[in-house]
Subunit: 479 residues, 2 copies
């Protein structure tokens, strides 16, 4: 059964696309073999990770090469069959599942090519590798993936790129715009064009950087089949601290101090407010490592090439925070087990919410001046409603707030007080309505309200350049 | 007088654009005032930095706001007047000067807006600021620009972004794709559209990232008028070492060790081969700091938040390199004056060449396996010609080789042996014919030979989305 959706998303009417016929299935089977044309038990491909949406696709294709994808897309172009590209299907905005009867093309079987250049630290690989799998393969050669996120065990690198995934270490290693060097993409055009964009080189100004346009394009321009990514050396030392502060202003002061004193070794700066910590304690029975129950909790990770230097920097930093009264409490992880526990607490901030019943989830960016103000405005706004908890956690180092509201069940009053207010407020305070999850289906109407007509027209024209018949992932961000 | 150009660049015939008339000048004066419409002494705008090219523009506009630029471009669109956008005019590929009679629009007077958020480290500013000026302004608040290059005293940040400038610290802070968060651009369309792309936020997945497309678009899509850039904290400590090695393979081994042992504090990794050092010694009378005259010289800079830790890391690293026999010689700068001298030697690698007479300059990227192989192939190829020196220096940490050849005068035989061989070889070895200087006018024919037709068509279609009448910077990278 599907969970009630956050947004009243009257599904966009089906477009004037071709309808799948037996002859199409025959063509698909000829191209990629009958074992790669699935017609039954398609729920894992039709239903999104949050179980908010269920598409009606009758056919899932799992091609094994870019050449097969090229032929499939060429056929879909000719027949004007709508296509929904899919990677790990771990997205949180319904972007990776079909809306109507789009043919699903999964990239999960693109997982042969893997090549690391240990001199330059450049990894080239097929787009269907699981993020964690790549991280483990790289570890053997002393490297690591520059992104890390909750879904790492099942998300695919191609999907990460298509959605410009962020995660918990962006503050250190930067976005995928920083680290993706080249892409191979297949276009849904008359030729099923295979385009190689950019090169596995750190510096390359020999052409327009179209590969950058595909990062975060949510599968609406082409299918990503291969990539080259800059991967950092795996640090020798990783150290963690948990800090308590009495105000959000103090959290910002700690962040500023952190950037100065920990500078180049800072690898994560995460926030959990007291409500978030209480939720973890009550719902998943994990106890905070800070006994003082501070208003705000900060998880700070440093990673570097010298355990001694890093520990000394961290100690100096913690002493400074305590001496200056910026932190009221603080503890450093002394063992690997303690480090794991610190991260477990933070990672459970999201999972713990589900035990309350229904969760109104958000993912916004805000200038730090307004970061926690939104939480306070919402708390005020929801007074007297059936809202149970108003919880804020997130990647404070990146200005990325996951402000979530729980209730026993879906409640219309809470819903009406939240939307579109929360996105209008965010936009009015120079924030972004999607920090890292994207637009997909969930935020489509808000995107359309906030992005001006000229920009939307440009998006559509750009889409037309790559996808002339508009068959790729319709009913989502770009029309 | 113009210097003889490297490439036999038969200027592309003038396009079917409108011709400037008095009535146009009247309109321009109405829009931005007669003091911002220059008609005399236009050589500084018509001639490029290398003095290879001289355009024939009869009118240079220096508008003071994006709104003025919008009105100017609207008029140029209506009259189909070709336009050459110009920033600091420090480019090395003739991209910033007109070819025929394009109207030059300089962004140099866009220099009012400047705002730094010290919490997030995000700088917002007009596009006409000089790079070094921004760096000095930021230093007062403990921040720095993430790029640094030779032309910093005269290049403008808008031009840096339009050309995706690289420079000497990309190995640490990443490319402008990593650090530019948002752009304001003005389009040469019927409305003179002012577009705000992206937001001054670290994470923002709320729209297609069109701002990324303008980075390195060489002024062919629109004029950049404002930007938001992520700026790193200024390090407390900067330390330098000069190392000598006996082979290029050892240089690569030193780089690998460097990434492991200096990891997060490495901020520059520069190469000068023995020919390059000899040229500096002979032509500008700067003596190497290494008395042993090694085959290869490496300048390694680290920057961090603790002088003691950084020095200790650097000493351990140097000891390792000597003990393992990777380096045959090495010295650390002990004073600020010595550091300045180290950089002065490296910075003179380029300038010193000019004293030989004529320089065939290059800027290519290569996988490290082939980085120095090209230099050897060229040395072999030019045996018995009038070539004087074959010199390699560059940003080895980024795979960016500046392989330059000098001769007393321009020599046709040397020219014919070099072109198109050097670019074909680079492309055949998975390199890039332009690492950081761009395509502009100089490498236009090579770009056109190497980029396949489909990709060129896509470039043209993308250009048409923003520049429907093709008036912006014609005769350059994109047709």
């Amino acid at each position: 059964m599907l969970a009630k959706r956050l947004f009243s998303d009257k599904a966009v009417a089906r477009g004037d696309y071709g309808r799948l016929e037996d002859k199409d299935l025959n063509v698909f089977e000829k191209i990629c073999g009958s074992n790669n044309v699935l017609k039954d038990d398609l729920d894992p491909y039709n239903v999104d990770f949050m179980k908010w949406y269920k598409g009606k696709s009758q056919c899932v294709l799992t091609p094994e090469s870019a050449e097969q994808i090229s032929q499939l897309l060429k056929h879909c172009y000719e027949r004007r069959l709508a296509v929904c590209p899919q990677a790990g299907n771990t997205g949180l905005v319904g972007g990776s599942v079909p809306v109507h009867d789009e043919v699903v093309i999964s990239i999960k079987k693109l997982r042969n090519y893997y090549k690391l250049d240990p001199n330059s630290g450049i990894l080239e690989c097929d787009a269907g590798f699981v993020l964690q799998e790549l991280d483990e393969k790289l570890a053997k050669d002393g490297f690591m993936m520059p992104i890390d996120l909750g879904a790492k065990g099942s998300c695919l690198i191609g999907g990460n790129i298509a959605t410009n995934a962020g995660g918990v270490r962006l503050v250190r290693y930067g976005s995928l715009n920083a680290n993706v060097l080249s892409l191979q993409v297949v276009l849904p055009d008359a030729q099923g064009t295979i385009l190689n964009l950019g090169a596995p080189l750190r510096k390359d100004n020999a052409d327009l950087k179209l590969q950058q346009l595909f990062i975060g394009s949510e599968g609406q321009l082409g299918l990503i089949t291969k990539c080259a990514i800059l991967v950092p050396p795996k640090p020798k030392s990783v150290q963690l601290a948990f800090l308590g502060t009495k105000s959000f202003a103090d959290c910002c002061a700690v962040l500023r101090a952190c950037k100065k004193m920990l500078g180049e070794i800072l690898s994560s700066f995460e926030l959990m407010d007291s409500e978030s910590m209480r939720c973890v304690e009550e719902n998943v029975l994990l106890e905070s490592v800070l006994t003082s129950k501070p208003e705000f909790n900060l998880l700070i990770e440093v990673a570097g090439s010298s355990p001694e230097h890093d520990a000394e920097k961290m100690e100096n930093f913690l002493t400074y925070c305590m001496d200056e009264g910026l932190a009221t409490d603080g503890v450093m992880a002394q063992t690997g087990k303690e480090s794991e526990l610190f991260w477990k607490i933070r990672e459970n901030a999201s999972l713990a919410l589900n035990f309350d019943g229904y969760v109104y989830k958000h993912d916004v960016s805000l200038p730090l001046d307004h970061f926690y103000e939104l939480s306070e405005v919402i708390r005020d706004r929801l007074k007297g409603t059936k809202a149970k908890r108003i919880v804020t956690f997130g990647h404070l180092g990146d200005g990325n707030s996951h402000l979530n509201i729980t209730a026993k069940d879906f409640n219309q009053e809470v819903y009406d007080k939240l939307y579109p207010f929360i996105y209008d407020w965010t936009a009015a305070h120079n924030g972004s309505i999607s920090a890292e999850h994207g637009i997909g289906r969930l935020k489509r109407i808000y995107h359309h309200n906030l992005v001006n007509e000229k920009k939307q027209n440009i998006n559509s024209e750009i889409k037309r350049v790559f996808d002339p018949r508009g068959i790729l992932s319709p009913y989502k961000m770009i029309d």
